[in-house]
Amino acid sequence: MTVSPKKHLVVAGGGPAGISAATRAAQRGIAVTVVDEYDRLGGQYFRGRQESTAAGSPRHFFRESPSVQIIANGVVVDTPTKGVLSVWKQGGSVQSLTYDALVVATGAYDRTVALPGWTLPGVLTAGGASTLAKAHGVTPGRRMLVAGSGPFLLAVADDLSARGCDVQVVEATPLRTSVGGLPTIARDPVITRQTMGYLLRLRWRRVRRRYASMVTAIHGHDRVEAATIHRVDSAWRPISGSESTIDVDAVCLGFGFVPQLELAQALECTIGYWEESSDFYVKTDEAMRTSQANVFAAGEVTGIGGVQVAKAEGCLAGLTAAYDLGLIEKSSYDAEVRQLTRRLVRARRLGDWIRRAYRPRAGLWSLADAQTMLCRCEDVTMQSTEEALAHNPATPYAVKTATRAGFGLCQGRICSPYLIEWLRARHGYRVPEEERPWRVRPPIRPVPVGAWLTDRE
């Protein structure tokens, strides 16, 4: 028997999906490298929970898969040719990383929504607030609102109230929607226990929860001083006369997440769009293969679905990568896939319900007034955006060109998803079937000029 060199799988993103993929693939004798932007693996989900030893946690992973190579603080900045990634190790140079198979498990960003006052200091995303609290033990204020839509608000309110903050939850979706989901939630014992825990602790700490309500404006001079809350109808349109203004010093906004698609787009994977829930996602087959050969996707990039979906998809992606590279017999693969698929179907039932139940509604795209910033990097207001649309087509690209929205440091990561939905809701824009509304060019992430030169000089 000839000994061929080990096949190499690269996993981009070390959250629950990436860890699961790496574990499964490593079990099948593939050399695995995980690239993650942070100093510790685990992604947003395990941030501040590094002590966890549950299956799929970073600790469990290190114990089970000691041979996996980790590139922490590593940023994939380019996809120069098929089978090669350019990875910038922060503080160092850009290196080429070759792969036989690649799992894109890059996770998601917080969905940002432009509403009056959203750029004031003291306003942050729910995900940002959670990271601050969990990873750094810092809270953004003393009296705060956790506002938006979805079960993640409960987790953030739990984190913040546990640290002694005075927290109120403002959920745009009515209580009956959450209640209607109880049978679905009850099928998943882990999530049920987690949700019950949040609710009991929030009640114990007297955290007020408002439903069918939205923060419609945030006020303050140099930082957040108050926020206006409206009751909203089923389309999230504020009901006039229902408003109240309360004093707060921080507002955490969480209107769900948007998949982080830059790497998948740079690899030219086919990207899909769900109109109903305003989500772009990487299209895959049932075994997590993308449209590109030997490139797989797992977790939030394939559509927001939560941690259980991410883990199951990660396992499936890692396993299929091993199978496609010829390291697993078909019978053994099929048996394992059947089991994983059952698990995934179960997890998706809850994930799909959450995505639908808490999806953004029309009223969300009408909160901004003329002075509200669309793009905070380039100081572009909604008014100048409207003015530009007077003689430009209502497309994200035309708005960017006319106003410079999305030209700043974040390159539209913050404002693009909002701009697209706002154009859809207010100007009849239709997301094109084939092409995507924005382009990705190298570098996928900012990389210093110096690091770039070193590799090529």
């Binding site: 120069p80 003689h391 430009n392 035309a398 410079r404 440091l409 060019r441 990389v447 210093p448 030169l453």
Partner: protein
């Protein structure tokens, strides 16, 4: 769009087309502007945007560019904000070029161009970010930069106020000609009757010419740009090197056959532009690559290396974006401005190469003067499209 009658139809919604729409509307013409994509979707949003002139140019080209710079000064004199700033350009030469450079400055000063030689200490003070290895450079007071996208939007706004119609996402499908005269433009949105058609389609002008059987001698010249993270005030001037003009000259030397200019070796030179919003645009490269707009990584690294030689502080700045744009290249390096005798009613305002931003306003003025039968600001004979053999398709 129903069939309608216009005095002029402008094809192209970049900086040249927008400026022409404004100038012709102001001259009292009923104008429609047709743009295949969105405003400024071509080279006008994929470029650097200095407003200036080359020092080694012939007299006519220099006069054209000086008139162009004056046009920007007049345009912004009332406070019109298109991010036009003219805190000058610094031109860095190789050490052995100093004598030659100083002689060029003297020649320019003789025709009242405001420029000076900065020795080591003055240069250090004027532009601290430059490499300490550079011990002198030329400064040109009246050169500056502009935001082409803002110029386009400002021009379009003004044109609309004068009654112009802007049709974006509208493709030109055909041009109707009757007894040697243009009569109408057929677009994806309908037909517009007009006896005057202004081709301002930049690198895509050749395809428009083909619709009336003309071979327009304009080909796409690809250029790459890198964009850094915002860093306000790192550079006080637009900074470039003499190598830039050398790369332009090298491209002009390309041999041309029926398929267009032969792709010689790609050229790179450092051109640095600090935007008002902080980003530094790092250019530049020049190569013939057809209509391909994908970025070439080798070229990006070459540009970065070249730029870092001038401004070592760039090393620590992060690149947030890169892009490539297509400039409309002509065999003699001058644009095509004016009518052609080949087809009555066909007017060209294209082929500006890497100078479209600088020349936009003066081009529009010349076009308006020619169309309304006025004396032109400048002799336009050297710009006449008929200096090239265009018929015979």
């Amino acid at each position: 769009m129903k069939s309608r009658l216009k005095d002029a139809v402008i094809i192209g919604g970049g900086i040249i087309g927008a400026a022409c729409a404004e100038a012709l509307s102001r001259a009292g013409l009923q104008v429609a502007l047709i743009e295949r994509l969105g405003l400024a979707a071509g080279a006008s949003s994929a470029c650097q945007s200095g407003v200036g002139f080359g020092i080694s140019k012939d007299d006519y080209t220099l006069r054209l560019h000086l008139a162009a710079v004056r046009a920007y000064q007049e345009f912004t004199a009332d406070g019109t904000d298109v991010d036009y700033c003219h805190h000058g350009t610094i031109l860095v030469g190789e050490p052995d070029e100093e004598t030659e450079l100083k002689a060029s400055l003297q020649r320019l000063r003789d025709i009242s161009v405001r420029c000076e030689w900065l020795d080591e200490s003055t240069l250090r003070e004027a532009e601290p970010a430059l490499s300490p290895e550079i011990c002198g450079a030329a400064r040109f007071e009246d050169m500056g930069q502009v935001s082409p996208m803002r110029v386009v939007n400002e021009m379009v706004r003004r044109a609309i106020r004068k009654g112009a119609e802007i049709h974006t996402n509208t493709e030109v499908k055909g041009i109707e000609v009757s007894s040697g005269k243009v009569t109408a433009v057929v677009t994806s949105q309908g037909r517009i009757l007009s006896e005057l058609i202004v081709v301002a389609a930049g690198a895509w002008s050749r395809q428009i010419g083909e619709l009336v059987g003309l071979r327009v001698p304009v080909w796409p010249l690809k250029g790459h740009i890198l964009v850094t993270e915002p860093v306000r005030g790192m550079l006080r001037h637009y900074v470039t090197e003499t190598g830039y003009e050398a790369t332009v000259a090298a491209m002009q030397a390309a041999s041309i056959d029926a398929a267009g200019p032969r792709p010689g070796s790609p050229q790179t030179a450092a051109v640095l532009q600090n935007l008002p919003s902080g980003q530094i645009l790092i250019g530049s490269s020049r190569e013939f690559a057809g209509f391909d707009r994908e970025v070439n990584r080798e070229r990006l690294a070459q540009i970065a290396t070249r730029a870092e030689r001038l401004v070592p502080g760039l090393r620590r700045l992060r690149i947030i974006r890169t892009y490539a744009g297509l400039r409309p290249w002509t065999p003699d390096g001058l644009p095509l401005v004016g009518r052609t005798a080949q087809v009555e009613g066909m007017v060209f305002a294209t082929g500006h190469g890497g100078n479209g931003n600088t020349l936009a306003l003066i081009t529009a003025r010349l076009v308006a003067e020619l169309m309304t039968g006025q004396a032109t600001t400048l002799d336009t004979t050297p710009l006449s499209p008929d200096r090239f053999e265009m018929n015979g398709l």
